[in-house]
C-alpha cells in the first residue's frame, strides 16, 4: 500500500528516503512478542524524520477525497495493470458507520487495506474540559453509542477513584445489571449487522427485534433509548421503576431460547461456516502486540476479562465464565460473543436475585445532587417536602443547591487510569484533575480504535467479499473510534 501510494515518479517526492524505513507490516512482523528478544528501532535522525512526515503529509490520503485522481495515478504508475485501488466507505452500508477502507486489489484478492478514520470526530475529549464533572457523563455516553452504560460507568469509576468515594451497593448492582443488558444489546447489533453483511437477513431481523426489547427496558429505567447519562459520579440518577424487575426477568428467560434459535440458524449452517471459518485469522501474539482486547482476544484462546482480572462494581460476587475459542477467526469470534450473551444473562439474573436495598446515590451532600438526596413517596423522583425545604425554607440549602448545579463539586488533584470490560474490550479512562470543578484532561482508550488496527493485517490476502466479514468481526463503533 505505502509503496503504491507514496512512491511515484513525481519529481518532488523523489528525494524522500522512503525506502530506508521498514513498512508497517514488516514492523509488525518484527515486533511480535518473543520473550527476551530485544528489538532494534530503525535509526533515523530526528530532524530528517520530521521533514519526511511533512513531505508525507501531502502524500497520504486526504480525508476530503480530493486527491483521488492522484491516488489512482500513483497506482497506475506502478506499471502493474492488475492493481486496482478501491475506496470503500466512508459512506458504505457495510462498514459499520463512517469507516473508510482503501483497498488495493489484484482481481478479487486484497493486497493491502488501510483503515482511514476521523470522519466522526467531534472533539468530545476537548469539550469535557469545559464542563463540570457531572456534565462529563453526557459527553462520554455519546462516544461508543452501542455501549453507553459502559462509557458512563468507566468515567464515573474514574471520578470516584479521584474523589476517594464509592457508590452505594444498590447503585453498583444496578450498574452491573444495565451493563450486562447493554452488553447483550451490543452483541445483538453485532450479530444482526454481521448477518446482514453476509446475506443472512433473518438473523438481522431477529437481532434487532431482541435488541428493541432491551432498549425498551433501558428506556424504562433511564428515560432514553441511547445517550442515557444515567450513571453519575457516586451513584446512578434514579432507581428501577416498579415492574421493571419482572420485565427484565421475563426478557432474560426468553432471551436464552432466542440464543438457541440463533444457534440453530447459524452454528452449523454450511453457508455461515463457509463465510466465517478461517477468515480474518490472527495469531494470539500478534493480537496482543496490536493491543487487541475483548471477544477478539478471547477468540484466540486467552481468557482475559477485566471483570475477573480487576473486578469493579462488585463483579466478584457473581458467578460467570469467561468464554473462549481457539480458531481466532470470524467464526471463533461469533462463538465467543454468543456465549458471552448467555453469561451476561446469568449475571443479570444473579443481580436481580441479590439486589441490595438502600439508596442509589451517595449520601454525601458535597457530591450527590441535592434534590435527589430525598426521594418522593413512590420511591422515585424528588420528594416534595425536600424540594420545599430547598426552595422555600432554607437559604443555605438553596445556595448549596445552586452551587452544586452550576459549579459542581471539586475533585482532588491527581490522575487515574480506570478500565472496564466493554463489549468490544478494554475501555479505559485516563482522567486528570487539577483540583478544580472541571476535568483537566479526559482521555479515552476506546477498544474499537485500538482493535481497528488489525484491519490491515487481517484482510491481506483475503477476497473482497471476506473483507466485510473480517472487518465486522472487529465490531468497530465509529462513534468511539473518532470521539
Amino acid at each position: 500500500m505505502s509503496e503504491i501510494l507514496r512512491d511515484d515518479a513525481d519529481e518532488a517526492t523523489q528525494d524522500v528516503p522512503e525506502a530506508d524505513g521498514p513498512s508497517t507490516s514488516q514492523l509488525l512482523d518484527q515486533a511480535v512478542v518473543r520473550p527476551g528478544e530485544a528489538l532494534d528501532l530503525p535509526a533515523r535522525p530526528a530532524a530528517e524524520h520530521v521533514t519526511l512526515n511533512e513531505q508525507r503529509a501531502r502524500q497520504v490520503l486526504a480525508m476530503g477525497g480530493g486527491d483521488w485522481a492522484e491516488v489512482t495515478a500513483r497506482a497506475d504508475a506502478e506499471g502493474d495493470d492488475d492493481l486496482m485501488v478501491i475506496n470503500m466507505g466512508p459512506q458504505h452500508p457495510s462498514t459499520h458507520g463512517v469507516l473508510r477502507l482503501v483497498l488495493v486489489l489484484r482481481g478479487e484478492e486484497v493486497i493491502s487495506c488501510q483503515p482511514v478514520v476521523g470522519y466522526l470526530h467531534t472533539g468530545i475529549e476537548k469539550s469535557i474540559e469545559f464542563r463540570t464533572w457531572v456534565q462529563g457523563v453526557t459527553f462520554v455516553t455519546r462516544m461508543d453509542y452501542l455501549a453507553p452504560i459502559f462509557n458512563e460507568t468507566a468515567y464515573c469509576l474514574a471520578v470516584e477513584k479521584l474523589l476517594g468515594v464509592e457508590a452505594p451497593p444498590r447503585a453498583q448492582a444496578l450498574r452491573v445489571l444495565l451493563m450486562e443488558l447493554n452488553r447483550v444489546a451490543s452483541h445483538l447489533v453485532w450479530l444482526a449487522t454481521t448477518g446482514l453483511e453476509l446475506g443472512a437477513l433473518s438473523i438481522m431481523l431477529y437481532g434487532f427485534r431482541e435488541r428493541e426489547e432491551i432498549l425498551d427496558i433501558l428506556e424504562d429505567v433511564t428515560g432514553l433509548r441511547m445517550n442515557h447519562a444515567w450513571v453519575r459520579p457516586a451513584g446512578v440518577s434514579q432507581d428501577l421503576p416498579d415492574g421493571t424487575e419482572d420485565k427484565i426477568r421475563a426478557f432474560a428467560r426468553d432471551m436464552r431460547g432466542k440464543a438457541d434459535e440463533y444457534e440453530t440458524l447459524l452454528t452449523n449452517n454450511p453457508i455461515w461456516l463457509e463465510r466465517t471459518r478461517g477468515i480474518g485469522e490472527l495469531s494470539q501474539d500478534r493480537l496482543i502486540g496490536l493491543g487487541v482486547t475483548g471477544p477478539m482476544l478471547r477468540a484466540s484462546g486467552l481468557a482475559h476479562d477485566l471483570r475477573k482480572a480487576e473486578p469493579y462494581c462488585g463483579y466478584e460476587q457473581y458467578e460467570f465464565e469467561v468464554p473462549t475459542a481457539t480458531g481466532s477467526d470470524v467464526y471463533a469470534r461469533y462463538q465467543v460473543r454468543l456465549a458471552e450473551m448467555r453469561q451476561s444473562l446469568r449475571i443479570v439474573e444473579q443481580v436481580l436475585d441479590s439486589l441490595p436495598g438502600g439508596p442509589v446515590m451517595i449520601q454525601d451532600p458535597k457530591v450527590g445532587w441535592p434534590a435527589r438526596l430525598a426521594l418522593g413517596p413512590d420511591g422515585l423522583g424528588n420528594s416534595p417536602a425536600h424540594v420545599n425545604h430547598i426552595m422555600g425554607e432554607s437559604m443555605e440549602a438553596l445556595i448549596h443547591h445552586f452551587k452544586m448545579v452550576t459549579e459542581g463539586f471539586k475533585v482532588p488533584a491527581g490522575e487515574v487510569y480506570v478500565t472496564v470490560e466493554s463489549p468490544r474490550g478494554e475501555l479505559g479512562y485516563h482522567v486528570v484533575s487539577d483540583g478544580g470543578n472541571l476535568p483537566y484532561r479526559v482521555h479515552v482508550r476506546d477498544p474499537s480504535f485500538v482493535n481497528l488496527q488489525t484491519g490491515g493485517p487481517m484482510v491481506e490476502g483475503l477476497l473482497v467479499a471476506d473483507v466485510l466479514a473480517a472487518m465486522s468481526s472487529i465490531d468497530p463503533v465509529l462513534g468511539g473510534v473518532d470521539r
Binding site: L27, P35, A38, A46, G118, E415, Y417, H430, R441
Partner: protein
C-alpha cells in the same frame, strides 16, 4: 498535576517489579510515585525504548499489553507536553504507568511502535492533538483531524470554539458571531 498522596506502598504485585526496575536502571534515572494505588514511573525520553523493551520482555514484568498511550498538556511547566504509557501485564495482573515529558520547542519522543505495535494509532493521535513528534514512527500523520489542519487542538492554549475556521475554501466564523444569510457570514 502533582499527586497529593504519595503512596509509598504500591500494590503487592508491583513490589518485585519496581525492585527489579530499580536494580536494572538505577534510582536516579527513574522517579517512582504512587497515587490512588497506581504507580507512575517518570523517566527521560533517552531511555524510554530501553526501559519499555525490558518491561515487556523480562519474566518479572512481562508488560506485553500497552493498554493506553495518552498525551496531556501542562502549560505551567517548562516541559509542558506529557506522554503517559499505561502498561498491563497478563501474567502478573499488574498495571504501571510510564511518563515522559518534553518541551514544545523540542517535542521529540522515541516511538514505541517497535516494542508495542499497537502504539501506532495512539502515537498518531497524540501527534495530532498535542504535536509530539514520535521519532521512528512508520507513518506519523494526523489521524482524527484532517491532514492539513493547523495547530494542535488539545493543547490548553487552543481555544474551544471562538476561532475562525478556514478549510478548503470554506469559511465558518466563530459561533458567537455567526449569522446565516444564504451562507455563513460574520456580524
Amino acid at each position: 498535576m502533582q499527586p497529593q498522596d504519595a503512596v509509598a506502598t504500591p500494590p503487592d504485585a508491583l513490589q518485585p517489579i519496581l525492585t527489579s526496575l530499580r536494580e536494572r536502571f538505577g534510582e536516579q534515572e527513574l522517579e517512582v510515585t504512587g497515587h490512588r494505588g497506581e504507580v507512575t514511573v517518570e523517566l527521560g525520553r533517552a531511555r524510554l525504548v530501553e526501559v519499555a523493551t525490558w518491561l515487556r520482555d523480562d519474566p518479572a514484568t512481562r508488560f506485553r499489553h500497552l493498554s493506553d498511550l495518552s498525551g496531556t498538556d501542562y502549560p505551567d511547566r517548562p516541559d509542558r507536553l506529557c506522554v503517559d504509557y499505561h502498561l498491563y501485564s497478563f501474567e502478573h495482573n499488574a498495571r504501571l504507568r510510564l511518563k515522559v515529558r518534553v518541551t514544545v520547542e523540542d517535542p521529540h519522543v522515541p516511538s514505541v511502535t517497535g516494542v508495542w505495535p499497537t502504539a501506532n494509532f495512539h502515537e498518531r493521535e497524540v501527534y495530532d492533538f498535542f504535536g509530539v513528534r514520535f521519532d521512528g514512527h512508520p507513518d506519523l500523520t494526523r489521524i482524527l483531524m484532517p491532514e492539513d489542519w493547523k495547530g494542535y487542538p488539545q493543547r490548553k492554549d487552543y481555544p474551544l470554539g471562538g476561532v475562525n475556521v478556514d478549510y478548503h475554501g470554506a469559511h465558518v466564523p466563530p459561533p458567537d458571531t455567526r449569522r446565516y444569510k444564504g451562507g455563513w457570514t460574520s456580524t
